[in-house]
Symmetry: C2
Subunit: 593 residues, 2 copies
């Protein structure tokens, strides 16, 4: 069946069910960033293979929403299919919700698979539509009815994530969770996000791109804990281990029937992290509390064991980066290198490191003007050759059993212009402002966001993305609930939080700059004014000194960069076996001035 036939099939079903617009969110019942293949519905209906987008089908139109990083690729992939490209996340974007409000009328019906939208989003959208007399229908899955060869959930084995990495056993974690539920006056909790399931039960898997997760649901009350998972994923010994820890294992497909029979409970169901169909069915016979999940909160605070492991993973990542960078600067101008081949080479260097399990996201390699496209995604159509001139931005990370990494560096491949130095040094000042920030307990991420941006704002410069996101421990590279962004987020930055620090400056058509390290939050001091926190950086990779205008740094900033390079050298050099690499690396880490 080609895409035209699929769209026609959906329209036939829409007519049958009297649905005027069918929305494909491209998400899965776990609201994953990277979905199991079974839920690649967006690609199935439109041919668009990017990782972000929504598709809307009406009687006479098909629209695909995606964001800047995919405009070129999406246009290429949907060419000739009669699908309209809608630009999302740009100034004055017409969002899906706004389009629906403008194009549907009272009496119309919008349909979507309610298991692929969050409770919160569904509540917002359905309320807007209701105010205009439009029906919101979420109980059908039209795609499933006509996708005859739809892939099953992968059967790749799940495995035990040992306590030496996890820091706490699953029994300890379940006890902490149950105490938390008691404190909240709740009987039980639905855990549906795959990273929450992986964290609470110390399980990992290999079926999702970039993230070591297992497709499963979990349900916990004061007596029991249930894991709903495809049975073929559990080896007999691992099953025994889980059962010994009191986990009741049931088939994945039993989850929905299971929750339908629960009654008279007060149940924790995180509205942002749980799909609408789950909340809807639970709320019929129970009280549903939509607060932030305690699992999400607990997972974000890393234990001292986890932090030690995470530092280790970052050292290995730094060694891989050192070897990669030496290779890059030796090879450039001699062999053909492209934006795509650099990504592959990086993975190759990382894969030599102990406990490496794969990239933590698709590497972002942007050369020259492409570096100005935030989260640029090179394809065989768009990839540029890398030459010994202009800037190269590389944003990449690895999944190691002992930690997840995420690092961005911007390199000068030729001679830096003064404008490039101005921008790079301004961006570095912003990075240092956050890396050295001191702040009282209770401070929210938005307060740190503006402290980071100040050096840019002082020059009337800004960037259109967040400053920092949480990071899992051998889990998702983007992890909540905290963040460092201008937008309101009520979750304070706490001791043990692991966060990225990634300010940037992007000059459209010219070049882009981003400097990203990972850091964790720790206690600094207590005094008459309260308790104060600060950060410690755990990424170890040289920052390109050719792009730094030393005159623009104050003495504290200069001290920071020299101290940072010293710590990079101290941590990484013991693991560099090649003398040439070592010599080159020493130069990169030498102090400025």
């Amino acid at each position: 069946m080609d895409i035209g036939a699929r769209i026609a099939g959906i329209r036939l079903l829409m007519e049958e069910h009297q649905i005027d617009a069918w929305l494909i969110t491209g998400s899965d019942p776990h609201l994953s960033e990277y979905t199991p293949e079974r839920w690649n519905t967006r690609e199935w209906i439109s041919g668009f293979s990017g990782s972000y987008g929504k598709v809307l089908v009406t009687a006479d139109r098909v629209l695909l929403w995606t964001d800047t990083r995919y405009f070129i690729q999406a246009a290429e992939e949907i060419k000739g299919l009669g699908i309209e490209l809608m630009k999302d996340r740009v100034p004055n974007a017409i969002t899906v919700d706004a389009w629906l409000m403008d194009n549907l009328y009272s009496g119309n019906t919008l349909g979507l698979d309610g298991s692929t939208i969050s409770t919160f989003e569904a509540a917002q959208l359905s309320a807007k539509l209701a105010a205009k007399g439009i029906t919101f229908r979420s109980d059908l899955d039209l795609v499933d009815e006509i996708w005859l060869d739809r892939p099953a959930i992968f059967s790749k084995p799940a495995y035990d994530y040992p306590v030496e990495f996890a820091g706490k056993s699953r029994s300890e974690k379940l006890e902490l969770l149950r105490n938390e539920l008691l404190g909240r006056n709740q009987d039980s909790i639905v855990i549906s996000m795959l990273d929450d399931v992986a964290w609470i039960l110390n399980i990992r898997g290999e079926e999702i791109p970039y993230t070591p997760l297992v497709t499963a649901f979990c349900y916990v009350d004061q007596q029991n804990a249930w894991l709903f998972v495809n049975p073929s994923k559990l080896s007999s010994p691992f099953r025994t281990i889980l059962e010994k820890d009191g986990i009741i294992i049931q088939p994945y497909d039993e989850f929905v029937p299971f929750i339908r029979q629960i009654t008279n409970n007060r149940i924790q169901v995180d509205a942002i992290r749980t799909n609408f169909e789950i909340s809807k069915s639970l709320s019929v016979h129970n009280v549903v509390d939509p607060d932030v999940s305690p699992v999400n909160l607990m997972k974000a605070v890393k234990s001292s064991r986890e932090i030690a492991n995470i530092k280790n993973a970052h050292v290995k990542d730094g060694v891989a980066m050192a070897n990669f960078l030496f290779w890059l600067f030796q090879t450039i101008g001699k062999e053909r290198i492209t934006e795509l081949s650099i990504g592959h080479k990086l993975t190759e260097f990382r894969s030599k490191q102990h406990l490496f399990k794969g990239d933590s996201f698709h590497p972002i390699v942007g050369y020259g003007p492409h570096s100005a496209i935030v989260h640029y995604h090179a394809t065989s159509q768009t990839k540029l050759d890398i030459n010994p001139e202009n800037l190269l931005l590389v944003d990449s990370g690895g999944q190691y059993m002992d930690g997840t990494t995420d690092l961005t560096r911007t390199f000068c491949l030729g001679t830096a212009t003064q404008n490039q130095k101005d921008d790079f040094t301004t961006c570095l000042k912003a990075h240092i402002a956050l890396a050295t920030a001191i702040f009282p307990v209770g401070t929210k991420g938005y307060s740190l966001d503006s402290i980071t941006r100040k050096p840019l704002w002082d020059k009337a410069i800004n960037y259109g993305h967040g400053t920092g996101h949480g990071i899992g421990c051998f889990l998702s590279v983007h992890e909540g609930p905290m963040s460092i962004r201008a937008e309101f987020n009520n979750e304070p930055i706490r001791e043990g939080h692991l966060l990225s620090n990634e300010p940037g400056i992007y000059r459209e058509g010219q070049y882009g700059i981003r400097i990203e390290n990972v850091m964790f939050c720790k206690k600094l001091t207590s005094n008459e004014f309260g308790d104060f926190l600060c950060f410690e950086t755990v990424s170890f990779c040289p920052i390109d000194k050719h792009l730094i205008d030393i005159e623009m740094l104050n003495s504290e900033e200069l001290k920071w960069i020299n101290h940072y390079h010293e710590s990079v050298y101290t941590n990484i050099s013991p693991f560099l076996s090649d003398g040439d690499v070592m010599e080159w690396f020493r130069l990169q880490c030498d102090p400025l001035q």
Copy 2:
């Protein structure tokens, strides 16, 4: 009737109405910061005369909540009355809501006068109580039943606020408001906050302390505008002017019956700024939109005419301050001066200025350890003698027909210690950080709050109050909806907003420091990164150079302070008539270094 008899009277009525706890919010039907005498219910029931507090009466207890600035005064005033003092706005404070949740039981009833609590607060409190099975009753006014000699609303005349000060005529403002309502799909609006009423109709009065307001309600739809006001307040010529502008004038007491007969309207009723009884009665037969009032939003954005006037008012205020400071430094150590007499002297100097109408709030004069008490309120019991040593903090402001002022300075009366200099200079750095901030359009106050605090946080210092509040134009000295505080506030800082800039450092038992100027927000530049805003300071008063450690300032900060003092001298000196004052003033404004 003494206070004991009043409490007994309330308890009798509580028993009659089966009410277990009666809450006196101390507010009025307009939710005013400073209430007309008629609504001084807090003082009537407890004897406590401060401007912030709540009283709760149960069958066997009476509790008074107030904050740090009033702990001493309140304890004094309620002595021997059997009233318990509850400390509000301190770490781990037991709030009224928390106390009620802990001490009332299922089946109990809390009562309060629903016209003295905001719709938002009432909704929050009643929902909490309901979850515990406690009834929330808001339709009674027990105080009114036994306060036999309760004062009537003052009959002081209201007057026309001329367009030369207001910037826009009331007809222009009403037209703008009606367009705003059309855009929001609303039929009409209730305007109940007294500063909103004064602003929209260009009226002012003299019946409320510190604020030139008139006790009145206003209601506006697309055809008409109603003013509900005690008729004796309007002179016949002023009444004619208003009626010529299409204002329908009705007695104050007709407001509630008037809104009760409105049906089938979609009505704008700001939930934070409108009392609960109004919303409750309107919502029976209408749709009530609880958004931020458009009047509140429009009032906050000052026109260029208003800004020019406000600058003028601040120049006059600076002249008064210059003369006051000269007097202070000449007199100290020679005559007896106290925290109280300084406040009176300040008012005396201000009252010599053109268009002065009174203080904009009760002056805060804190000497030595008293300066460390934020918003300290000197009384005849607590007042200290001022000697030529230690620090003096003076926070005061004036109401001028052309603008409202608010200024804090901290002076060294003897020889500054290095600790005092460290703290003062750190506080000055914070003040300068905000005064010189550049930020993109859309920035919220919380983003500017942390930029201001950074110089303090860097030294693990903090302050427990907000950084900036909005200020009216010959209206309230505290005006919303925007603010510069760590707490979430969704209203961005906009071009034309007038705000205070007042970081502080308080060392309990030793000294306190605050440096406060008023500034307005203006456009700086537009470029590829968007539109950027900045501030211009309009307060003109020397900052005590004896307390500045010049080594702690960077070159930009040093430039700012010297430039600021130059502008103070340029603006103020032409109005200093006395040669001695002029000579002294010149020294205060001379550049550092």
